[in-house]
Symmetry: C2
Subunit: 349 residues, 2 copies
């Protein structure tokens, strides 16, 4: 059985092709919707499908999305309907191979989505956690991507989440709007330490978390998969210039060590942010000796953010999904998880 | 005597024409350098000069700048030299009518700037406060513009500032990177109150302070002189959609009153930010009964931000420069202040 999984985000479209229970291909297209011509979305999706599936016949297509929150769309409803229509252009109109996951982790069809679009809004975490529950019966998942962090407690194979919508998930701590690449510095911290003093920072988009993590050797230039804040290059020198600018300085006036100190401070504040959300999530769970639960970390920030936040808080057993499963660490990606889930469902039927 | 004053900022170029001690014209050109073709800067400056001075012969030109911090330039030095060269293209090469103010409030010439460019970096506050010191002997100036806030104690006619560079001024509290229009919400607060709960906000550039202040009727649409965050319109409905998005919601899901509550919360946090910088500034001043000092407020945010911050802290005498001087409130604008200062200097010589 061949299943195509789609995770249509506001910045990236991710796809995974599943062949008989295995991930055969994955594909990521950087496509920032907020600056793109949305009428071209179906062409972009067609390209992605051709790229990943070649001449394969696809038995079913599983879709999850978060792009409806992008300010490319006036409301989530408008976004979801536009994405649906673009998918209908790519495949046949209301193709009966199309499946969508909703916030309750159920697969629903085109007509159901059109009837109540909001139930598929930002449901990618539901796909991921449902899939993961089948591997780890009890655990806490921390998935840190380019822009956001998901913290999902899974007990007895099921996600035990308090929030369903993104807003509720922000409140519960299950969604933290902080990530490895696209996060602007003022959303991590309003000040840094510079020459032993607290220095407030500029509110301009002078630098991004990608610069911090590149300079701290947490990511390499290939992983810096976004536009830079100033349109200049992705290299150490230009990242240093961007970081210097956040305290209204420049690389003539700051030493490399001073810039790295600023990066280390920002990094520690980002860990604290994740840590405090994790704390909020676990205090709402009733579980005997919660710190014995394994914490499953994944995504770009698994090692230098998720791992640290969990250790700081007192968790002892931390499993890096990417290391554990090798290339298959990708299964955590919603695009793959949703395809694998759909395959299982269709096989069971 | 006819003097042209220039304040060349990263987002706006402001100019004022002084005729015999009076402001005869002011002109503002929105020109975001970080997205512009910098080789065109001299053309833009020529346009501004033609617009404001018509056929007048100008006796002298006074210049201050902050645009060198824009990420259009790699370093401040590069920015200052580029702006100098553009001015040299507009006027004759090294025109002897060109004067620049440095961070010590002194007027210097083209060759001095080329010899040590950094001394003119972000010196606009020096022009403003030197000028103001001649009107109010002892006072504290709070000038809140579209992007930043300056807090300048003036004692015995002279600015008593601890910071000279922007970085030092951030540390001392004399520069606060918060303003009425261009400030992104996460740089004001990381959370808002929503349905009696604390809700963390998205790190995306979904809305700006201009949306908050438009919805709270602090500014009108004409004063909303920047690009919107999502490229949509400057009106209440679109501003509400942008604010709803910061908690990952939309205008279908939030009521107008809920959105206004969020705005009021952000507004109160912005006042607190200015208040705490003001507190930092005054604790470093030795002055008997400091709360008796008049606080001079000016700029777009004079009434709803500067005024509130000063009152909250315990100041009793607050003077709104714009109201006191009517249209002449514009004298506080560095472009006018610097021109008036230069006129005085040239008359005295």
């Amino acid at each position: 059985m061949i299943i195509l999984g789609f995770d249509i985000g506001g910045a990236n479209i991710k796809a995974a092709l599943i062949k008989d229970g295995d991930i055969s291909e994955t594909y990521l297209k950087y496509y920032p919707m907020w600056t793109s011509d949305l009428s071209k979305l179906s062409e972009i999706l067609t390209d992605v499908v051709e790229n990943i599936s070649g001449n394969f016949n696809i038995d079913a297509i599983a879709v999850t999305m978060t792009a409806e929150l992008s300010d490319a769309f006036y409301t989530k409803r408008e976004g979801i309907v536009h994405i649906m229509n673009s998918l209908n252009d790519v495949f046949e109109d209301k193709d009966d191979r199309l499946y969508f996951i909703n916030i309750y982790g159920e697969f629903i069809r085109v007509d159901d989505v059109l009837h109540d679009p909001l139930q598929v809004a930002a449901a990618n975490w539901a796909a991921t956690s449902k899939f993961l529950g089948e591997i780890f019966k009890d655990c806490i998942l921390i998935d840190i991507g380019s822009t956001t962090t998901d913290i999902i407690p899974i007990l007895n194979t099921l996600p035990l989440t308090y929030g369903k919508s993104d807003t509720d998930r922000l409140i519960s701590g299950e969604l933290v709007y902080t990530g490895v690449l696209r996060t602007e510095i003022p959303s991590i911290t309003h000040k840094v330490v510079y020459r032993e003093q607290e220095c407030p920072i500029s509110s301009e988009k002078f630098a991004l978390s990608a610069d911090v993590h590149l300079l701290l050797d947490h990511i390499n230039i290939t992983e810096y998969k976004i536009d830079t804040a100033d349109g200049r290059k992705k290299n150490r020198k230009d990242s240093m210039a961007r970081i210097a600018r956040i305290i209204c300085s420049d690389i003539e006036l700051l030493s490399e060590e001073e810039i790295l100190k600023i990066c280390r401070y920002i990094n520690s504040q980002q860990i604290k942010k994740i840590q405090s959300a994790l704390e909020k999530v676990i205090t709402s769970i009733e579980y005997k000796d919660i710190f014995q639960l394994p914490v499953i970390v994944t995504g770009l920030g698994s090692n230098f953010l998720a791992n640290k936040a969990a250790l700081n808080l007192g968790f002892k057993k931390i499993i890096n999904l990417d290391e554990k499963f090798g290339k298959k660490g990708n299964i955590i990606a919603p695009s793959a998880a949703i395809a694998l889930l759909l395959e299982k469902k269709l096989m069971d039927e």
